[in-house]
Symmetry: C3
Subunit: 342 residues, 3 copies
């Protein structure tokens, strides 16, 4: 499919074209590896160096960057969002017919919308409610008493345990496991006894959940993922956690039990959040930050000693740190000597 530049921005507010609105666009590209007929975007300053020589037919960028744009410019205050909207013209439009694949297994007393799609070898439990335009991918397993809101998409090989409630327009990627038993064991005489996990998981509208991410059911109350939350791949969300609306969490983050994360937070990849802590709204955690105490104020937080250095330097620094106590003693000794001399 090919579109005129003007068609691509027709429904976008406050987006203007500098150049030829009739320019034909046949796809998207990166600014550095652009091909004729494609549209690129510029949002990360790392890539500004490629603007002058780009082969793109048009570039989506800010007004400031447009000054240096040698091709058609699509000027936006939010080029990333504008790109998202324009790129959606070029998504795969393959339609799958609604209905239940003959190899799928569906339990009793289910309410399945006739506009829903149930993929091959999917397994649906009893008393499951699936709203209109829901897509259940092949090999996905849904437990008893689950409810799934309209236009939600579960990709292939997802597991939804019993009693989980999923909102509208949720997207769950392959391999994710939602509603598995929380990790709760009580020790009695040296061995561990399972604490029954009786809560479930609630997932709000417009939530995205990445591949192989796990979200455990609550011990007593529910684990809650509020509306608009975006979770990347391989994230662990333990039992009783609450993640506030519109918070974004990058890959491989570990969130321990009963932690509460505020709204509109940005959690960098591989961050670790201890159990029972509370994180305020609008907190940013840089990548690999460990949170062991509650954070009560918005702002950017980090932890640890960061930055890869040559191994020899690393070893030196580690030796220095191990001898910090000794260094402090030496400073104390000097202070005493000076004091005595006064």
């Amino acid at each position: 499919m090919t579109y005129k530049l003007s068609e691509l921005i027709k429904n976008l507010e406050a987006v203007t074209i500098k150049g030829d609105p009739d320019c034909l666009i046949s796809g998207v590209c990166t600014i550095q590896h652009a091909q004729p007929g494609c549209i690129a975007f510029l949002t990360n300053s790392l890539y500004r160096q490629y603007l002058q020589t780009t082969q793109a037919a048009a570039v989506i960028l800010t007004e400031a960057d447009a000054v240096n744009c040698p091709v058609n410019a699509v000027i936006s205050k939010n080029p990333h969002y504008t790109y998202a909207k324009i790129a959606s013209f070029f998504e795969d439009q393959t339609k799958i017919s609604p209905g239940i694949h003959s190899s799928a297994v569906v339990g009793s007393d289910c309410q399945l919308s006739p506009t829903a799609i149930i993929g091959a070898n999917a397994v649906i439990g009893n008393h499951v409610s699936i709203a209109s335009h829901v897509v259940i991918g092949p090999g996905t397993i849904i437990g008893n008493n689950v409810s799934i809101g309209e236009s939600t998409q579960l990709d292939a090989r997802v597991t939804i345990y019993a009693n989980v409630k999923i909102g509208k327009r949720v997207h769950i990627l392959s391999g994710a496991v939602i509603g598995s038993d929380g990790f709760g064991f009580a020790n009695q005489k040296g061995s561990w006894h399972k604490v029954p996990q009786l809560g479930s998981v609630e997932i709000g509208d417009d939530v995205d959940i990445g591949a192989n991410t796990t979200i455990d059911r609550g011990t007593v109350e529910n684990t809650v993922i509020e509306e608009g939350v975006k979770l990347d791949n391989l994230i662990q969300v333990a039992h009783n956690v609450r993640i506030g609306a519109h918070t974004v969490i990058a890959g491989c983050v570990a969130i321990a039990g009963s932690a509460e994360i505020g709204k509109h937070c940005l959690i960098g990849g591989t961050a670790k959040i201890a159990g029972h802590v509370k994180i305020a709204d609008q907190v940013i955690l840089t990548g690999n930050t460990g949170v062991t105490k509650s954070i009560t104020q918005p702002g950017m937080y980090s932890s640890g000693v960061k930055g890869a250095v040559p191994n020899l330097e690393f070893r030196k620094t580690n030796a220095r740190i191990r001898r910090l106590d000794h260094l402090m003693q030496r400073v104390k000794t000097l202070e005493d000597l000076i004091e005595r001399k006064k």
Copy 2:
């Protein structure tokens, strides 16, 4: 279902009621969000503040805490364990009929107990032995020559590779992969050649394994998870590892090849254990601790620089650490100056 408080503790040793033993209990709740008719527990001092105003019908707690309990008290030396036992009264009692779902695929020469349940779209290989009261969830795949002990439960979408031996009363959550090839490659002239992985995995009785956790088969001998071990979600157990009995490992821990972890250890979330190290019995690793050398004595161990701080402070500290060498030189210079003046 509703029970009298006295019924709930009938089979529990050394547990007493202060208050009304005939009080009716219809479910469990948290102490802070309690509802009438429910029973809560108090084990974490963070939640003691909610005791005075709790709406619970009864609270499970220690004798010391019972003094301040305004409602019926269930007094126990081990409230968490007592709670686990009482909560089990309120677990979902849905019974699934024994038997093999018509969509399941079962190989040849299997020994399947008539009391076992094989879920929809499960796939069982050849020469598989499944004992009484075993539950195999939907979409779970079991390789050839696997044996599974009585009352073990594999949830939906678990993979058990060939030759794995699983004990009794084991519970494996969805997405877990047991017995995949270990990560062994030999370099020859710049490219990597697979080292055949010929061992398997042995899982003892009463082991729990979390969602999307992976346990690789041994290179030569077996990877071994001893009895009573509890593994949380998204844990990596590499080939040839041995985890000692009754050790508990929280989420996202990475255990490299041939590591040996002792019995009765507590490993905090996101801990990292290097290859070939040995960890003694009764070792506690706090969250995110990295172990690079063997630990020979029981006790609590930690590593790194912990605690999230505002990013500006973090940057300062990192700059200070990078200049530690310089600081040491300055102290040395001062010492020399003082020495000369003596």
Copy 3:
């Protein structure tokens, strides 16, 4: 099966026997737990202590170690590679007949080699090309327009999303997810909007991918795993990443979007690589190293403060580090005092 030692090394260059070439070998073993009739190898100096007393029938080792070998020695410049070749004689030789299992679901317009094996309950989309001797495990899901090169093996419960291209002799372990949507969202007025992910994933020849590892499709261009790359379990490869040929990455590594990793790198377990960084060829990252800036030179790199210590010592060191600023001030004060006295 039993082989003469001489048979096992028949096709191996520059490998010699010191001892009895007719010695019969019935399996492999470790040097420390050897059994009669088995062959072991010695490559890690940690295990040299077991050589004198090994019960193995033969040991594969270097010429230097052969001097102290009390049993038959198989001398090699690369004992690990020699072991890999010899151990392959003892791999499970179970043959599965080619063909499509009756429970598998295959879409339209597929090109499936008659020598391929499609396992039980596998689901193959439309326009899929599967070359000769490919094995598709049970419960594995393959999207539309995927192509898979000859002799590639996908184990049970793998997901391959639409449009992914997989080379020859690739091995993908259970639970891996390839081609899931990258994590891209644009913020507009406080909520997050999905950025369409239009690229795919290309996987070169001879790549191995571990259990529950996730590789996202590119935003615009493809995510690329070059030939000979070996990825362990639970690794996250975000969108637009490129991993250079013959690079080996251990378990639980997190690679953020658009990172480029060179060829012949060794990335230790739980390493974290930030988005958009470039890592040169032949870089070694030790375990748990975080890379936040590009690395332009080959060599070994590390980060952080490593090594588990008793918790009390850890707390002291952390307190010292928090007071580094104060220590620096004290040194400054001393310097000023000394300066004034001069």
